[in-house]
Amino acid sequence: MHRFSTVPMLFAAALALTAGSAAAYPDKDVNYIIPFNPGGESDIAARLQQPLFNELTGKQLIVKYQAGAGGAQAWSQLNNMEGDGHTIMGMNLPHIILQPMQQDVGYKTEDLVPVYYFHYTPDAILVPADSQFQTIQDLVDYAKQNPGMVTFSGSGSNSANHLAQQRFDELAGVTTTYIPFGGTGPSVTALLGNQVMASMGYSTVAANQGDQVRMLAVATDERLPNFPDVPTFREAGIDMVGGAYRGVGVPKSTPEEVRQEVSDVFQRINNDPRMVQQMEDGAFVVIDVPYGEVDAFMAERAAEIGGIAQRMGITQN
C-alpha cells in the first residue's frame, strides 16, 4: 500500500504546482449525485473513487442518491444546480441517450454536460451455477429449439439490459423472453433463486457473486483478465461489444476551465494503479475519455444506441 500511495501524491503535487494557485479546484467538499439507489454499479464506483478523491485533493467527495424515473429525475434537474464544479452528477450510457428518445423526460441529451467517462461494465449473460447451460452455444441451441422459453432477468424495461437482450436475440437469431426487474439487485436475486433461466447483466455480477453464478459470455473485445475462461460474444460468433458506460457530468453553467478541472481530477483517480486494480477485480473495463474527447465519444454511442432503439420500436421523439 505504501509503495503505491507516494506515486499519485507526487503526481498530484506536481500537477498542483504546474496549475498554479489561480485555480484551486476543489476548494471545498464536492457533492457527487448518483441518480440511482445505493447498491448499483454506479454507487460502487463512486464509493471506490471517494477515498482517492480525498487523497488527491484533500477534500471529501460526498455521495448522494437521487433516484427516480431510472435516473431521469436527477438529470432533468442537473442544470438548475450550481455550476461551480462542487456539484457533479453521475452520467450513464445508454440511459442519457435512450431516455430522451423515448419521451419527454425533462432533459435532452445535448443539454447534459458529461466531462469524463471512466469505465464501462460489459454486457454479459449469466446463469446459476447449477444451470444446464455450460456454454453460450448450449443456450443458443436451446433457445433455437424452444423459442421464447429462455427467460432473461434484467434491470428495467427499455434499459441497458433490455437493449442488450434485444441485440442478442437479433444477432444470435433466437427469441428469448425478457423479464424486467426493479434493479440489478432484484434481477440477480431472481437468477440466484432459479426464478429465471439466465440473466442479462454485467460482468460485475460475476465478480460479486463468485461461484454462485456462471458467466457464459462477455461483450468485450478481449477476454477479461479476471475471467480468462469466459469467452467474448465475438468468439461465439455474436458481434456484441459494449455495455453501460459511466462518467461524471456538471451543470451547464459550469465554466469551461472548471469542466476541464473536474475531468482532470477524475482522470487522475481513474489512472491510479489502485483504482485500476480495484476495477479489474470488480470486472469493470477502464476507459479514459477526458473532456476534450467526450463529444466524439457521445456521437459514436448515440449512433450505435439510436439504431437498436429504432429497431426495438421504443423511440417516440
Binding site: D29, N31, I62, K64, M81
Partner: protein, 156 residues
C-alpha cells in the same frame, strides 16, 4: 331520498362519484399503454369503480347514521383555511424566495394563526426569537451537517 343527510354522507357520495370518474379516466388512459403496462391500471380502476358504485348506492338507500356532531363548537374553520393558504404560499414560494426567507415569513404568519392566547410584548419577543432560533437550527443541520443544497433566494 332523505333530506336528513349529514355533511359526511354528502361528502361520501361526492367522493364516490369523483373516484368513479378517476377510475374511468384511468381506463381511458390505459389504452395508450403497452399490454404489459395496462393490465394493472385497468384492474385497479375496475375495482375502484365497483367499490365506489357500491358505496354510493349504499349511502343512497341506507338509513343514515344518527347525526354525530359534525363540527363541534369551538372548531375554527377560518384558522384551518388560513393555515392551508399560508402553507400553499410557502410551498410554492420556496424555490423563488429560498428556504430561509420563505420559512421565516411562513413561520411568523403561522405563529399568529395558531396563537389563541392573545399577544403581549413578552410573547411577541419570545415567539419571534424562537421562530428565528428554530429556523437557524434547521438551516444549520440541513445545510452544514447533512450538506443538503436547500433552495436559495435573493436574501440568503
Amino acid at each position: 331520498m332523505r333530506n336528513d343527510w349529514t355533511v359526511r354522507d354528502v361528502g361520501t357520495v361526492v367522493a364516490g362519484l369523483i373516484f368513479i370518474l378517476l377510475g374511468a379516466w384511468m381506463i381511458r388512459e390505459s389504452f395508450a399503454m403497452s399490454p404489459l403496462g395496462s393490465v394493472f391500471p385497468r384492474t385497479i380502476a375496475a375495482v375502484m369503480i365497483v367499490c365506489s358504485v357500491m358505496l354510493v348506492v349504499q349511502r343512497l338507500y341506507r338509513r343514515p347514521a344518527p347525526p354525530a356532531d359534525e363540527n363541534p363548537a369551538g372548531e375554527s374553520t377560518g384558522r384551518r383555511l388560513a393555515l392551508v393558504a399560508v402553507m400553499a404560499a410557502w410551498v410554492f414560494l420556496l424555490p423563488v424566495l429560498g428556504f430561509f426567507t420563505s420559512s421565516l415569513l411562513a413561520f411568523l404568519v403561522l405563529l399568529a394563526v395558531a396563537n389563541y392566547d392573545g399577544w403581549n410584548l413578552r410573547r411577541v419577543l419570545v415567539y419571534g426569537a424562537s421562530a428565528v432560533g428554530i429556523i437557524v437550527a434547521f438551516y444549520l443541520v440541513f445545510v452544514e451537517l447533512l450538506l443538503l443544497p436547500m433552495p436559495r433566494g435573493f436574501l440568503i
